[in-house]
């Protein structure tokens, strides 16, 4: 028996049947994932590429595909950026409370609540966003318009329903908060106990210990948490489709209803009345969204590998 194992490790002997079947199955599963991803790209390209060069009447008020997609892309990115700016600091704070600040009797319920909320469906967030958050925020928008109107973000006029890009961004922030928190919490908690105790023994305060022992260890995990949050915020469909009442062109004005929809919410709102030609245009915008999220992930992934290398050296 033992000789077989040694031989297997050096790869010289013929592995037994069970091993061969099992490893083939595992390999097939891995390749199936590659095939699925290639399939997404291929099928979206087949159906979407004709949508890039339709006659002008397919693009509404715009004259070309890029004129049609640019405001949508801007709306997508703007909502996601608002969401990240709000959610990331909060999420890291909550994650630190759970992993390092709170005693276990408090940390466990907090972690449990956040875990449950990670699973709240986007359509429920959308429902809540329209009927509670938008209504509550509307007076705040009026106030911002009157007192902070000199900032381009709050130029106004304030939306009467509260269904603005800022509301949509805040709903997105609440949606991505549990995801960022859950992952950050895991990586914070995995910091080696000895690193932490060494820092404390050298006289570091708790915050210094976190800055010097926890953050460097957890950096790649924190980046990947943000990346997952960004991915979800960019592609989130229903919450934006339900909350935002889209207006015309590109504008940084966050509190009026002059902002464009996001790519995803535009697809959800328009696919129903679409003729086959119009649907090809929508699928083409989906292809653009796919490429954008691909680029975001690529960049984030690159940062993760780089910081991991720095940690090991």
């Amino acid at each position: 028996m033992a000789t077989t194992v040694v031989a297997e490790d050096t790869g010289r002997a013929r592995p037994r049947l069970g091993d061969r079947v099992f490893s083939r199955l595992a390999l097939a599963a891995g390749i199936a994932i590659l095939a699925a991803l290639a399939g997404v790209f291929i099928f979206l390209a087949i159906e979407g590429v004709p949508g890039l060069s339709k006659p002008a009447e397919f693009y509404g008020s715009a004259t070309s595909f890029w004129g049609y997609v640019a405001p949508l892309l801007f709306g997508t990115v703007l909502a996601a950026v608002i969401a990240l700016v709000v959610a990331v600091p909060l999420a890291w704070g909550v994650a630190l409370v759970v992993s390092h600040y709170a005693p276990k009797s408090i940390a466990t319920p907090i972690a449990y609540v956040i875990d449950l909320l990670a699973a709240v469906p986007s359509v429920v967030f959308g429902l809540w966003g329209i009927s509670v958050l938008a209504r509550e925020l509307q007076p705040a928008y009026v106030w911002l318009d009157e007192n902070m109107g000199w900032l381009p973000f709050f130029a106004g006029p304030a939306s009467g329903t509260g269904r603005t890009i800022l509301t949509a961004g805040l709903v997105l922030a609440i949606m991505i908060l549990p995801i960022i928190t859950a992952i950050s919490r895991e990586v914070f908690a995995q910091t080696p106990r000895l690193h932490e105790e060494a820092a404390l023994a050298l006289g570091a305060t708790r915050w210094e210990m976190i800055r010097m022992a926890v953050f460097p260890y957890a950096r790649s995990g924190m980046v990947s948490a943000v990346m997952l949050g960004l991915g979800r915020a960019l592609g989130e469909t229903m919450a934006v489709a339900m909350v935002l009442s889209p207006g015309g062109g590109i504008s940084l004005n966050l509190i009026s209803s002059s902002n464009p929809a996001s790519i995803a919410s535009n697809i959800a709102a328009n696919y129903k009345e679409g003729t086959p030609g119009k649907i090809q245009v929508l699928i083409a915008t989906g292809l653009v969204l796919f490429l954008v999220t691909f680029l975001v992930n690529f960049a984030a992934r690159w940062i993760v590998t780089r910081s991991e290398r720095k940690l090991h050296r």
Binding site: A2, T4, V5, D9, R16, G18, D19, V21, F22, S23, A26, L27, A28, A29, G30, A32, I33, L34, A36, L37, G39, V40, F43, L44, E47, L90, A91, G93, V94, V97, V113, L116, A119, P121, S122, V123, V124, G126, L127, W128, S131, V132, I174, R206, W207, E208, I210, L230, G231, G235, E236, T237, M242, A264, I267, A268, Y271, I283, F290, N297
Partner: protein
């Protein structure tokens, strides 16, 4: 040495080995003072309780670090400030979440009844009762379909990545592309399933299985990543001990590695299911909408709970009394409550299973 230094030691507190610290009750004390101090302008200007809470937090966040800065120095002040900020973040995060749960329960609960859960929206006369039975069945079948496709593929792929392909170029590519897949927006997954099925079966094809395919595309990366993380945490000692006893590799994986990681894997799979159970966009595209109950995953349109919520809220109908809640909005809230309860039960089950099978780690 000690003889020469002894006369210098005049002040007795210089021998203290600890720096000056605030008393243990300092945060509580400052909190009470902050709440009281904030009450003054709130009462004078007639602001609401929300403004009071915000003002108290601000006063606390300024006062405690300043006091600590005077007594403990700059490092102590930074520590106190960050502690305060971190707890504030926690409090802020809980507010919208609590508001959401409260609203869903408050507005959904009155609509829940046995008819609501056991009747479909299909009716032959206008005064018939309606319910969400058809959407419950649709959600159940489509989610089971997605899990059946993605759980075996996901777990086997993770096993390949950790146990077989470690360090190979293919494994590197798969890891990278699984990361990319995590970022696939759900609507893109829906468009993919939509494109595939209309290419195969014609432009008006709609079915539940299309929804399952779209959802499994979203589930697979979650399952792979969580399983991968868990397998990576299994100590190499366990594997080596098993090899040393002459156990073949595949039996080591099935009998030693997987059971050790089972708790985490089950949690990951359940979180993946909970994620796709509430997915709306792909199902809106490919599974469509119907008022009847459809038990066949492979034929005909199939309503799911999230799609029902979205469409009922978008086309709510006319309220019976002017100014009242339209019937569609009521149905949407009721369905939202049911959906959230399903999701929470899934989480609870996962937790219990995860705890039962969790390895004894010793800490």
């Amino acid at each position: 040495m000690s003889v020469t230094t002894a006369p210098v030691r005049t002040a007795p507190e210089a021998v203290s080995f600890t720096a000056a610290r605030l008393p243990r009750i300092a945060p509580a004390l400052v909190a009470v003072v902050a709440v009281a101090a904030a009450a003054l302008p709130v009462l004078l200007l007639g602001w609401g309780p929300v403004a009071w809470a915000i003002l108290s937090a601000l006063v606390f966040l300024v006062a405690l670090p300043v006091w600590a800065g005077v007594v403990e120095g700059r490092r102590g002040a930074t520590d106190r400030l960050m502690t305060g900020l971190v707890w504030t973040a926690c409090a802020i995060a809980v507010v919208p979440l609590a508001s959401l749960l409260w609203t869903v329960v408050d507005r959904g609960l009155p609509r829940i009844s046995s008819t609501f859960l056991t009747f479909s929206m299909y009716r032959t006369s206008l005064d018939q009762e309606v319910g969400i039975y058809h959407a419950l069945i649709g959600t159940l079948l489509i989610t089971i379909g997605a899990a059946v496709i993605s759980v075996p593929i996901g777990i086997m792929a993770a096993i390949y990545l950790i146990e077989y392909g470690k360090g190979s170029r293919l494994a590197g590519w798969i890891t990278f592309l699984v990361d990319v897949m995590t970022g696939i927006p759900s609507i893109v997954a829906g468009l993919f399933a939509f494109s595939v099925f209309i290419l195969l079966f014609g432009p008006s094809y709609r079915s539940g299985i299309g929804g399952s395919v779209a959802l499994s595309l979203l589930m697979i990366p979650v399952v792979v990543r969580s399983t991968e993380e868990m397998l990576r945490l299994v100590p190499a000692d366990l594997r080596e001990a098993s090899y040393a006893l002459g156990v073949p590799k595949w039996r080591t994986i099935v009998k030693v590695v997987l059971p050790t990681a089972l708790g985490g894997i089950v949690t990951g799979v359940t979180l993946a299911i909970a994620r796709v159970v509430g997915e709306t966009a792909p199902l809106l595209l490919i599974a469509g909408l119907t008022t009847r109950t459809n038990f066949n995953l492979f034929d005909g349109r199939m309503t799911t709970l999230p799609v029902l919520i979205y469409t009922q809220n978008a086309n709510p109908g006319i309220a019976e009394t002017p100014g009242g809640t339209p019937p569609g909005v009521e149905i949407a809230w009721g369905a939202a409550l049911v959906l959230i309860v399903i999701v929470m039960l899934l989480n609870l089950v996962a937790r219990v299973i995860g705890r039962i099978f969790a390895p004894k780690t010793g800490h």
